[in-house]
């Protein structure tokens, strides 16, 4: 077994598994402690419709300045104990690292200014786009895309980004194919083999950059993977049970970031973060009803049960009646956090957690697998696997069993067409050869190089 694999879960009791508290809190220089007992808001946003080019960059920078000023001003007004600001760069700002770095610098300077003048504690999470996609990609770890991705991480850390994160896309094309065909073996291979391999190389490099530049490697998310399943399931395009199984499987690949040295908080849109927290003890950011401004979900409340930061995913910088949308969204986050922090201070955090869970759990399998008790139970099984592939397979099998039992016990509402897919997925899982080479051969026969080219990953085609 790889010595970096977590061999047991971080939590022995459900009573210590709760929002705001993590076994391995992250301490910042300004005194913020993420996972140290306080739930912090984490604001994310995007630009209104506008092209990004060299000529529009001054306008782009102005947009970011206005957003950060508005957010800091609102945070100050509402007395936040601290907040995170995440900037998920748009593709041109990673293809042109100097643009992304300039945005990070401007944002960090404003935040530092508010801290110096007004005592507002904050931290900047900078997330370049994983641009290793598209027709021109020659290799995942060499060439223009890789170089620009790494240069953006390095430059952002140098200008003061407190955290580095990424929504990595290793295995994504193969996984997309798996989702659209509800092909569990292909999903398993794309996650347990390809994505985990990619995460290892990617995060070794991000961790190194962070360590050399006084930044913290925070974490990844299966945004391009399980969130794609989630969105399609919520449109009724694929079964929700597939999306739920996919979510838990994705935990293994997202955890690789922590195995390689990431310290948290894990990225907000990675709902599998609850499994990262359970297994590694690192803090996580989560999003739920607060992210309805960006996408719909069926986990609005239950997603908050174990959050250490509470995020809005993304909101466009447009004017609403109450002000600019990011500022309005931050206000909502602050009030959510206030309520939950007060519950903690009154010794009611576990009751709050359980109410959040109960309000969503039975209505959707994707919500059910975020229930803290279920998370701990499945995590205990996942860590028994000796390899990433084995762990991902265990995650799938255990989730299928859990969902079936929950449905039989009347704890989870599932229509007949969803229940039928539990059987289909189980049959698919049982068809997978135990031998990894044989399994790889089986998957390779059913895909094409435009979906997965092993050479681009320095993997051997079997």
């Amino acid at each position: 077994m790889d010595s970096r694999l977590f061999k047991e879960v971080a939590y022995k009791s459900l009573d210590e598994f709760v929002y705001g508290h993590a076994k391995k809190p992250v301490h910042l220089k300004n005194g913020m402690v993420i996972g140290g007992g306080t739930l912090y808001p984490e604001l994310n946003f995007t630009l209104p419709p506008m092209l990004i080019s060299e000529s529009t960059m001054p306008n782009v920078i102005t947009q970011y300045e206005e957003i950060i000023h508005g957010a800091c001003s609102k945070a100050l007004e509402l007395n936040v104990p601290g907040m995170l600001v995440e900037i998920e760069l748009l593709p041109p700002c990673t293809f042109n690292p100097q643009w992304g770095i300039e945005i990070a610098k401007v944002a960090k300077n404003i935040m530092a200014d508010y801290e110096a003048k007004h005592g507002l504690k904050s931290a900047l999470r900078l997330t370049p786009v994983d641009i290793r996609e598209g027709k021109n990609l020659k290799h995942m770890y060499r060439g223009e895309q890789w170089d620009n991705l790494m240069a953006t991480c390095k430059g952002a850390a140098e200008v003061g980004a407190d955290f580095l994160a990424v929504e990595s896309v290793g295995g994504k094309n193969l996984h997309d194919e798996a989702i659209m065909n509800c092909d569990l073996p292909k999903a398993l291979f794309s996650l347990g083999v390809v994505a985990c391999h990619d995460m290892t190389i990617l995060w070794d490099n991000i961790v190194k950059i962070a360590q050399e530049n006084n930044s913290l490697p925070s974490g990844d998310t299966a945004c391009g993977l399980a969130n794609t399943s989630m969105v399609l399931a919520n449109k009724n395009f694929i079964p929700k049970v597939f999306a739920a199984v996919d979510r838990v499987m994705c935990a293994v690949r997202t955890l690789v970031a922590v195995e390689r040295g990431a310290v948290g908080p894990d990225k907000d849109c990675g709902y599998e973060g609850v499994y990262i927290k359970a297994i590694s003890g690192t803090p996580i950011s989560m999003e739920g009803k607060s992210s309805a401004c960006a996408h719909s979900s069926t986990v609005g409340n239950i997603a908050a049960c174990l959050a250490d930061c509470w995020s809005n995913e993304s909101i466009e910088n447009i004017r609403l009646l109450g002000g600019m949308a990011p500022t309005v969204s931050l206000e909502n986050l602050i009030y959510d956090c206030r309520l939950m922090n007060v519950a903690t201070s009154k010794g009611k955090a576990l009751e709050m957690r359980d109410m959040l869970a109960e309000s969503d759990r039975r209505y959707d399998p994707q919500a059910y697998v975020l229930d803290p008790a279920v998370v701990l139970k499945l995590s205990e099984q996942i860590v028994k696997g000796a390899t990433h592939l084995e762990r991902t397979k265990i995650a799938a099998a255990a989730t299928i069993t859990e969902l079936r039992e929950a449905h039989k016990a009347g704890a989870l509402d599932l229509p007949a067409k969803e229940v039928r897919y539990l059987d289909i997925l189980e049959q698919q899982l049982n068809s997978i050869p135990a031998d990894q080479e044989e399994f790889a051969h089986m998957v390779m026969k059913q895909t094409t190089p435009d979906k997965f080219d092993p050479a681009k990953y320095d993997l051997t085609a079997k």
């Binding site: 506008m50 990004i52 598209g134 659209m180 009724n236 694929i238 079964p239």
Partner: protein, 211 residues
């Protein structure tokens, strides 16, 4: 049940083996090849499209049905005269310049192919001139533009302008889609149609081509 009903049922069930078997039987019995396609295979696929739109079928089931139909068509092709192979139209589709997201576009492509259209998929990050060149080369009737980002949706307008500059804007219907796109944005940039998802896109293309 008749050949056609059996074939339709097999297509709806996504049973490729059964479709091949029944298509062979129908050919042996002297049923007109084009009728096998239109009254058996496509009739079944029409039911699939309706059920999908109504939420009674998932995408993977639609794709299984499409593959089953495709297997039947392949068997029939040698029995058809040139030009008899049904093609409801040619569509060039892609994600616009600067945008790397493609799952929505891929779904639309699959649904269109499943419905009998020929789809030329340009992939992601497609420049306006690439769309124009592909539309010319393949004599496309429809061009589909996809974008997920607020900072790339304006590339749709640039692409439409490129079709105007190339003098072929009136030769094609241009449809748009993606999370930040709306009907008003579609109207504003002069596109011909907007759809909210893959099921609606197939219906939209059908309407535009029948105008």
């Amino acid at each position: 049940m008749s050949h056609f009903e059996n074939l339709s049922e097999a297509v709806i069930a996504g049973n490729e083996q059964k479709v091949v078997e029944l298509t062979g039987l129908a050919l042996n019995d002297g049923v007109a090849p084009l009728s096998i396609i239109n009254d058996g295979l496509i009739a079944g696929m029409n039911v699939v499209g309706k059920r999908f739109k109504e939420g009674d079928m998932f995408v993977p089931e639609v794709l299984m049905s499409a593959r089953a139909m495709g297997a039947g068509v392949e068997l029939i092709k040698p029995h058809l005269l040139d030009g008899e192979v049904p093609n409801k139209g040619t569509i060039v589709i892609g994600t616009v310049k600067g945008d790397l997201h493609d799952i929505g576009k891929n779904l639309v492509s699959m649904m269109l192919e499943s419905s009998g259209y020929k789809v030329i998929d340009m992939g992601v990050d497609t420049a306006p001139e690439e769309f124009v060149a592909a539309a010319k080369e393949h004599n496309a009737q429809v061009v589909g533009l996809s974008a997920l980002l607020t900072t790339t949706m304006l590339s749709m307008k640039e692409t439409i302008e490129a079709f105007k500059s190339a003098g072929i804007r009136d030769n094609v219907k241009i449809i748009v889609g993606g999370a930040p796109i709306s009907q008003s944005f579609c109207d504003e940039i002069g596109a011909d149609g907007y759809s909210t998802d893959a099921a609606a896109a197939t219906e939209l293309v059908g309407k535009l081509l029948n105008q």
